[in-house]
Amino acid sequence: MNYDQDTESTPGGSTLLEMRGIEKRFPGIVALREVAFEVTAGEVHCLLGQNGAGKSTLIKVLAGVHQPNEGQILLDGKEIGFSNPDEAIKAGIGTMYQELDLVETLTVAENIFLGHEKARAGFSSRKAEHRAAAGLLTRLGHPEILPEMEVGELSAAGQQIVSMARALSRDVRLIIMDEPSAVLDSEEVRNLFDTVRFLTASGVAVIYISHRLEEIRVIGDRITVLKDGTAVASNLLVADTPNAELIKLMTGRSITNVFPALTPVADDAAAVLEVKDLVVAPGNEPISFSVAAGEVLGLAGLVGSGRSEILGAIYGSTKPVSGSVHLDGKKLRPGSTVSAVNAGMGLCPEERKSQALLLDDTLAANFTLASIPRYSLAGFTSGKREYQASMEQITKLELRPADPMREARTLSGGNQQKIVLGRWLSHGCRVLLLDEPTRGVDVGARSEIYTLVSELSRAGIAIIVVSSELEEVLGLSHEVLVVSENRIVHRAPAAQMSEHRILDLVMEGTTL
């Protein structure tokens, strides 16, 4: 399916939505201060800003989740106010939230029509819903997603399509997309963009939020930049604004060298991690490779290619069918995270919130989770030792705010990722597995994490990085393994690879 057409749709159409002097206060903080924001019909308006800049609050005000303390919202020049999300939806504003808000145990069609079921005299009409759902999904270029499928069985990308179909199932004039590409690989992002172009061509306006500037280059028309709750720049034309300026606006500083230089791996560096004939799932080919001390190995591939599954089998969070993993020559017990952690392995998982953090607990409790006995005396935890260890990590990682007693929930994505890294640093691991280390992390924290990876590699830690952003894999790693359909199709030094080459390899691997 291809909606390719002239995408430089002209901004300057009629103003669809205008927000004036929006102010939103929460107890203790002002989240938005006199924010002005406007969207014209048929444009893709990008909302940029670091985590905590107020993007999410702004879109929640627009979606009727929050009510502003001051300011006006005008739709077609008429003032409106939403006291709940339903009113916003009825006014034609659809929202795709970052955390997908689908019911996993319901089917695709049931999710799409949730809240406005097609029904006759109270009896839901499955047939009509299925027909309408299939129509929407085809329109979005994804007829392979069937209305009767259970949403929980779909991939993240598939769920996103369902979420979009849900927004479209109402008479929508404006769609808010909060980091839609965060869970997608580059192929799926391209599909997403086709869909966005298709929508704007029919006059729908899109508010697009993303941390990836490259994407904004491709899809955006105009940009509004938020920083600390105020709009520091409004309605910039994408074509006229260089990346450097955007970064400067977002951070108040300019970031030059995104990827720090890598220290070459010593020739005589011993292999710390050895993976021998590992069969991750029934029917997969055995995988073998090794990572030396101080080496950063990147796993490149599309989402669903089996990258994360390989990490899981190495770490023991899933049990491999056969094969073995050795750390410093010692064989690990298959399918045992306890064995991996004891041997000196650490994992920063893909889903930070659900797989790594104790959100309601303090930073200190999160740091020490993997090594509680070390901060205890004869089974009794020592607050003093924990405080000391936590402050050391906080200082080292430049974590903000520097308060070990704070709840992890209250920190931004970048700082939460630093907590997970700090957990393994204080544990003192030999092998670190990083699954999507910069997902949902703002530009500033992102470059800090990159620097940290290179420092750790210099200190002799063996690191495996998985990322959907090929640029990141290439920039961080010494060596790259290209994974496609659960197979390793190529291994080469990162310097000899390019994004283009990797994609080529992935395509070849898929067609074989």
């Binding site: 994992l347 790594a356 953090l357 104790l358 020490t368 989770l369 089974g379 000391q388 640093l425």
Partner: protein, 342 residues
């Protein structure tokens, strides 16, 4: 294992801002449980008003605590279970089984000839063993806790009836009754046991690696597993602990009633869950408060005492109990929300 962070030559020492014990008590202990303390004081005021000196008498106060002791000890164990988002419906039945098992004719004869301690140990061992079976099924058999303990509730009660032949077994071991049923400096031993178990439970939950892991497993089991915590073993241990507490509750009830019976602890599990939940422990796991549980148990026993003194029927008492559970939880949530904002 070499570490990168710990071998650096000089370490900056960070000193934790000190909080005085008093301030801490005011802060964490009182503020978080303000609703419960308020409810308890309200009940006391009501008691003093309606029953006067009969209520506000030191003997009566001791009666209230003695009444709370058995439920209290069992609730401490249940606090751990609920903190890991589990539920234990079998504690009442396990208590009955432990009591009956420890008071069989041969058991009593053995205790008579050796030491009363063996009777107490039998009750505790039976409780812990039944809890362990729960734990193994839940942690390794992956049967949900509700179903597992529902099954145990039926089976343990049935086994207790078989062993006792549905007859109440009178305890004849005098040293046992004297030791557990007696007083030390005017304080009943079962009240002392309650205090000891509560303090032990508080320390275990808040000051040990075991407790830290309990919170971690309750808050985010996946994160705990990926951090290398032995989630299954820990879960098993927690149900065994709950069983052990039921066993201790059994020997306390044996001393109080001087009997062992298959009807002991009927409906206890619901009182226990109510006390733990109004104490602020979340059924969804990750948060648990021993102090809150103790307050919860005291509130219910004060309520019972109040109604008894005023000659009100059990039925009225049940209605009041229901109202208290709901309002305590509502108040608790309001306060928690306010605390989170500040």
């Amino acid at each position: 294992m070499s570490t990168t962070t710990e071998t650096q030559p000089s370490r900056t020492v960070y000193t934790r801002p000190r909080r005085s014990a008093m301030k801490w008590l005011l802060d964490a202990g009182l503020r978080r449980n303000m609703g419960l303390i308020f409810a308890l004081l309200l009940l006391c005021a009501l008691g003093a008003f309606t029953a006067g000196d009969r209520f506000a008498d030191s003997n009566n106060m001791m009666t209230i605590v003695r009444l709370a002791a058995v439920t209290g000890v069992v609730s401490i164990g249940a606090t751990f279970v609920i903190t890991i988002a589990g539920i234990d419906l079998s504690v009442g039945a396990i208590l009955a089984l432990s009591a009956v098992w420890a008071t069989t004719v041969s058991g009593q004869a053995f205790a008579e000839s050796s030491s009363w301690i063996f009777m107490a140990l039998t009750a505790m061992a039976v409780g812990a063993a039944a809890g362990l079976i729960n734990g193994i099924l839940i942690a390794y058999g992956k049967v949900v806790s509700f179903i597992t303990t529902l099954a145990m509730m039926a089976a343990a009660r049935g086994l207790a009836e078989i062993i006792s032949d549905k007859k109440t077994q009178i305890i004849t071991v005098e040293p046992f009754l004297k030791a557990v049923g007696g007083d030390v400096f005017g304080v009943p031993v079962i009240v002392l046991i309650f205090i000891l178990v509560a303090i032990g439970g508080w320390v275990l939950l808040n000051r040990t690696t075991f407790g830290r892991r309990t919170f971690a497993i309750g808050g985010n089991p996946e994160a705990a597993r990926l951090a290398g915590i032995k989630v299954e073993r820990h879960t098993m241990a927690i149900y065994a602990l709950a069983g052990l507490c039921a066993g201790i509750g059994a020997l306390m009830l044996m001393a109080r009633t001087t009997t062992g019976s298959a009807t002991h602890g009927t409906g206890l599990e619901l009182d226990v869950i109510a006390a733990v939940v109004i104490g602020g422990t979340l059924l969804t796991g990750g948060r648990g408060s021993i102090f809150g549980t103790v307050l919860g148990v005291l509130i219910f026993s004060t309520l019972t005492n109040l109604f008894t003194l005023n000659n009100l029927s059990l039925s009225v008492q049940l209605v009041a109990k229901g109202a208290i559970i709901v309002s305590a939880v509502l108040i608790q949530r309001q306060l928690a929300r306010r605390a989170q904002r500040t």
